[in-house]
């Protein structure tokens, strides 16, 4: 008798592929889960609808994860991927040319189109810092991802912050250039596996099973590069944002973490903050500086490896999570 669970994610994302695969390959049934999905175009409505109990567990960006933690008792129980390299500052051809000559001068006083409260904004801010600029040296203009793409296409602005696969689309269609990534700016931007705290309290076992499926998918993806790339292209096409094989392969380069790796980056050795704690604290600091948060939530209050450990401690789940054969 499978147990029902509401799972939420954002389609057309590299880290969404495990959900698509899990359904297609019926991995949920292997751990005795039956899931229904709620999908969202962005993290904020996703978090808001968690407050209404629309979903139990899922994946989201790190910025929404922090907001969820600060406001709605959303726990971060794992990491979907490291998207530092795919949250980028992108420029139109002309702007990119100027940027190549003198990045600082090219950026200074410009309008930078960003989606407020997104990992993209975080990456853009990191890029500015990299070139010795602060947010006061430019005008940050808030636009949705689609709006940024329209504006860049029409040449109304030169720079914008996008994430994959939107950045690929723009590169493809108008020859825009990525001038700086979050990684370049030294900002680590993880994606978060999240779960509602009260749900986790009630059903810790189900959370562990959910993690096991996701980790199983990661293992599988790592073991089957070609099939994964193909599956990603298919999934994105179905969702309405097709990407070429070239970019699907770039996507595949994004770091993902299997069970052992996850345990490692989330471990707080001797009371010291874990790697993940540090990443999230920086994001939270950034959000506080913008007035989005009044205070930085303590990492230990919402980031936990408890459920990963449960997977690790359950031989059956551990075996499933580490099985890359099917």
């Amino acid at each position: 008798e499978p147990v029902h669970m509401n799972v939420s994610y954002q389609p057309t994302n590299w880290w969404a592929l495990p959900y698509v695969l899990a359904t297609k390959k019926n991995w949920w049934a292997d751990v005795g889960l039956q899931v229904s999905y709620s999908t969202f175009p962005a993290g904020v409505p996703q978090i808001a609808s968690a407050a209404a109990g629309s979903w139990d567990a899922g994946g989201t960006g790190s910025v929404p994860a922090v907001i969820g933690a600060a406001r709605y008792h959303i726990l971060t129980v794992g990491i979907t991927n490291d998207e530092s390299a795919t949250n980028v500052l992108i420029a139109t051809k002309e702007a990119a040319a100027r940027f190549e000559k003198n990045p600082k001068e090219a950026l200074k006083g410009q309008r930078i189109l960003v989606t407020a409260n997104s990992t993209g904004e975080y990456a853009a801010a990191a890029c500015l810092h990299k070139y010795g600029l602060s947010e006061n040296d430019v005008t940050m203009v808030n636009l949705g991802q689609a709006g940024i793409m329209s504006a860049l296409t029409s040449g109304t602005a030169g720079f914008g912050a996008l994430w994959a696969p939107n950045s690929y689309t723009l590169e493809d269609k108008i020859g825009a250039k990525i001038v700086c990534t979050g990684k370049d700016g030294d900002a680590i931007i993880p994606g978060a596996l999240v779960v509602r705290e009260d749900y986790a309290k009630e059903h810790p076992d189900l959370v562990a099973k959910y993690l096991a499926v996701y980790l199983h998918a990661i293992k599988w993806e790592k073991a089957h590069p070609e099939e994964t790339v193909k599956a990603l292209q298919e999934a994105d096409k179905e969702a309405g944002v097709p990407i070429s094989e070239k970019y699907a392969k770039v996507e595949y380069q994004r770091p993902i973490f299997d069970l052992a790796e996850q345990l490692e980056i989330m471990a707080r050795h001797g009371g010291k903050p874990s790697k993940v704690d540090v990443w999230f604290d920086r994001i939270a600091e950034f959000m506080k500086s913008k007035g989005s948060l009044q205070s930085v939530p303590a990492a230990s209050s919402y980031i936990t490896d408890k459920y990963l450990k449960m997977v690790n401690d359950d031989p059956k789940l551990k075996a499933f999570a580490n099985d890359a054969s099917r």
């Binding site: 962005a42 409505p45 209404a52 629309s54 269609k173 179905e238 969702a239 309405g240």
Partner: protein
Amino acid sequence: MAQLVASRRPGRGIPSAPELAALSVAGLLLFFAAWYGVAASGWVPSRFLPGPQVIAEMIDRLAQQPYAGYTIQVHTLASLKRFALGFGLAAALGVPLGLLMGWYRWLDDLVTPLFEAVRFVAPIAWVPFAALWFGTGIGGPILIIFSGAFPPCVINAYRGARQVDKVLVEAAQTLGAGGLRAIGEVLVPAALPSIVAGLRVSAGLGWQSLIGAELIVVSSGVGYLMVQGQTSLQTPIVMSAMVAIGVIGFVIDVALRALERAVRRSWGDQG
């Protein structure tokens, strides 16, 4: 000079039906010709304004192959279902409220101050609350449509009720019509033209708010189709969605206009 002169309505008279139909067709042709012309002239890059023929092809393709999960028909149906629920709820609550406000002074005084403030809040501003209260279920989008469609229902019913010839109400009262009957048989029919006009506006706004809702909180429907098209910079898809939105909005309006005409006819207005 005793010949029949019925056909000889002197100058500037009422234009004939065929003439009007011809003008309507001409208007439409003009619109499409202008669109085609602008698109073909290259004045606007085709990335931003594809010609009507491109859109027609795209719609045909969207009808055959699923995009953003479904074919365009399925998207449309999903939108229509949300619309029907939200608009139905707004009409079912808004029209009676407006009529009662026009009828009972105290209710008017009680509701108006609150209503006067709330109606200026954008439907999409309710998105966060819709998500917080109803999540992603059908309730969220419905709240948003409702908040767009509700005010015109109330306002027009209210205005209609206020403009009813007082002597008619008095006549009904002196004929022994109690409150309810006077409302049902005098207030409602007298306010009906105004109510239907309000429903038209309301349907328009509701439909527009729905698109707003679909841009943000759901993953099906023509609004979603549009935003997905936009993120993949496929203007033909965006405009196909706009056409679908326009056409459905038009059909809804035509239906309500037919209702309006039926109402007028029941007044014995033969014109």
